[in-house]
Assembly symmetry: C2
Homo-oligomer: 412 residues x 2
């Protein structure tokens, strides 16, 4: 078979591990130069691809030290986008443009690293290619701190985010323990549709015996009455009550607890925020003690100074595996992890990207305690291998050193 | 001279380095057993002292490995309080109780680790001792992430907090850089009266060339007109504008920009919060692009997973120096750092605690740019040594291991 070129893009929200996956793709392509002539990075995902904002990644990462630095670097070094492709049968103009670019750049492999929205793109591009005999193999590589993709045991990026959440909660618990006056602290954690990341807040308690008092997830309807009762009970046993909450918790009628406004993002997802403040407001009005709302915010997805070594090594492996799958011709597939039974080990397989697209995997019942406000032992055992291991970052001037790529004077 | 006993207490807000200072005190006392028979830790500062909640620290930390762990551990392991002593001439009952406890425990040295409120306590206890010939030497040891104490080049705890702020800002900048749509992100940093900690947000730009666009401090009156104009200008040059702001910024008339309510703490300090949200609100209404407000919140003072090695070694040194000063009889003094000229080195001296009590040191003019919205080279040169060096934490189960002391079943 003739040598052809490849393009890789990053999509959706940044993580602390998505560049490690990119590095895996670059490494495997560099090892497959008999099949792959050039690897281009599309800036800003599909958006940059359409503008032909392409970077020669073989040239950019000819130095292996730069690849190692890339693996330590948070956020999406190529940039990202939140573009949803229309159905080709309704409007195929954008597909024509994309495949025209693929043709001009002699592209046979397209790797798209992203979440369930990106898998929709993977599936659509693959179908278009098949129906129009374009012979371009599109492969999806999972990434999301939300860990809510179907058909994979977990997602790259989740382990590092969970490690950051658990460590931050551990440290906040310490901070909250210093005074004797009654106080309620509510920590808000990302998770619009599923509570995976908030589960990590339960780990310090599981490990040290002293942890958060309550964990609220979108998987259980939030009850104000249960909340007030549980907080009051906790305050009777100790003065410093700490609560973790997913941003997406909802009342039984489906309305968001933190729905302070009605903004939506480009995908029509509701913009959330304020679940912690909403709970603090309930405590202020119904219990009346010192309160504090903490949003972990962007840092939970981009704090590469606290990467999980397991997450990073798996993210590199899955990037490499994607290149192998592409060469084998597995268009329209997404790479996925399968957990071995017994001692933790993740095997890599491929699944149908279409079965992942636009769907959400919720936290299973066996990970949530019977009161719906805490985690179980099974949950901790699922989480612990994913946050395990530390990465030794390179520091200069007291700050972590991260990879930069420059293109036309632009900072990435 | 006969052997006598000592008590140490921690006060005010927690830091990532206050336990390192405690460790220094313990180490030096263990080295001075010819003079010091026992060292007690007062739980919850003066509050626990009054309740005789005392821990035998020689017994608790007989194992040096525990002392090393203590130095890595965030927050105040003994607990803290926010008690202000009355003037003894108005009401000396509390003093009588305290000195009665000192007498019963044969205490000659009292070490109080805290900020400017705690130095008020140090000064008052020393005066009472002198006037009543109690022969108890009270020594103040500085601690605050706010770095706003008079007569010391910097304060223990500040370096680690500044390292956390600078690293977090560096990572948030990465996260914000991935999309091409115009967006303004405002990061709120602790600093009620002085902008020292927000200065650290300027470091990534100084080091990497790519940093926050604007830094607003309480030392300069905030102007809405200047703000809108500066943000608009920044948006013309690049899509992702990132702004750092001290929680305590004020308009020219003295009102707080983030004054969303009128709550005050036990010292009558206004409880602030919401400066970032106030600025985001201005952008929403006057400029109109995607916005996000981020509060770094408690983690900036308790994130021991990102301690500055310089800060920790200095914090231990100043704790040790306090014991020497006490044995020399320097009652009513606070330990302080003096910076050497040339290559960075900190000398330790003592100053009058009364000159530090209740006063605030502001950021000097030469650290703030002429537009009042950024830092200078002199500022970066002041900051860099303080955040330098990393600590290798001990991890278990993927999380940092921190020191615990147990007393009557209570978790510290």
């Amino acid at each position: 078979m003739l040598r052809a070129n490849a393009i890789v893009g990053q999509s959706g929200g940044p993580t602390a591990a998505i560049n490690a996956t990119l590095s895996g793709v670059i490494r495997a392509c560099l090892d497959s130069t008999d099949r792959i002539g050039a690897l281009y990075g599309a800036r800003y995902g599909i958006e940059g691809l359409l503008n032909e904002e392409l970077i020669d990644l073989f040239e950019q990462f000819s130095d292996k030290a730069q690849l190692r630095l890339l693996e330590r670097t948070p956020s999406s070094v190529l940039g990202s986008c939140r573009i949803r492709l229309p159905d080709a049968c309704e409007d195929d103009s954008i597909y024509k443009r994309i495949f025209n670019i693929f043709e001009r750049y002699r592209v046979r492999y397209f790797f798209y690293i992203g979440g369930n929205d990106s898998m929709d793109t993977v599936s659509k591009l693959n179908k278009y290619s098949m129906m129009n005999s374009c012979n371009v193999i599109t492969i999806g590589i999972p990434k999301t701190v939300d860990n809510d993709l179907m058909l994979t045991d977990h997602t790259p990026g989740y382990g590092s985010a969970a490690k950051y959440v658990a460590t931050s909660v551990l440290e906040i618990l310490r901070d909250c323990a210093v005074y004797t006056a009654k106080a309620v602290t509510v920590i808000e954690i990302m998770g619009r549709d599923a509570g995976w990341l908030a589960l990590a807040a339960g780990l310090p308690g599981y490990i040290n015996g002293h942890g958060v008092d309550l964990v609220y997830l979108p998987e259980r309807a939030f009850s104000k009455i249960e909340f007030i009762s549980s907080v009051s009970s906790a305050l009777e046993t100790h003065p410093n009550v700490v609560i973790a909450v997913s941003e997406g918790i909802r009342y039984a009628d489906g309305t968001y607890v933190g729905d302070s406004d009605n903004r939506t993002d480009a995908f029509g997802h509701r913009y959330l925020g304020g679940a912690a403040r909403a709970l603090v407001d309930i405590v202020d009005r119904r219990i009346g003690c010192k309160t504090r709302a903490i949003e972990l915010n962007l840092l939970q997805r981009c704090a590469a100074h606290l990467q999980s070594a397991t997450d990073i090594s798996e993210s590199i492996r899955i990037g490499k595996a994607a290149v192998k799958a592409a060469i084998k011709g597995e268009g329209g597939r997404m790479l996925a992890f399968e957990r071995s039974s017994g001692r933790y080990f993740s095997k890599i397989k491929t699944v149908n990207a279409d079965d992942v697209a636009n769907r959400v995997k919720n936290v299973p019942d066996e990970f949530i305690n019977k009161d719906g406000n805490g985690i179980t032992r099974a949950c901790a055992e699922y989480l612990l291998p994913l946050i395990s291991g530390e990465i030794k970052n390179e520091y200069k001037n007291g700050l972590p050193v991260y990879c930069t790529i420059k293109q036309r004077g632009q900072y990435v």
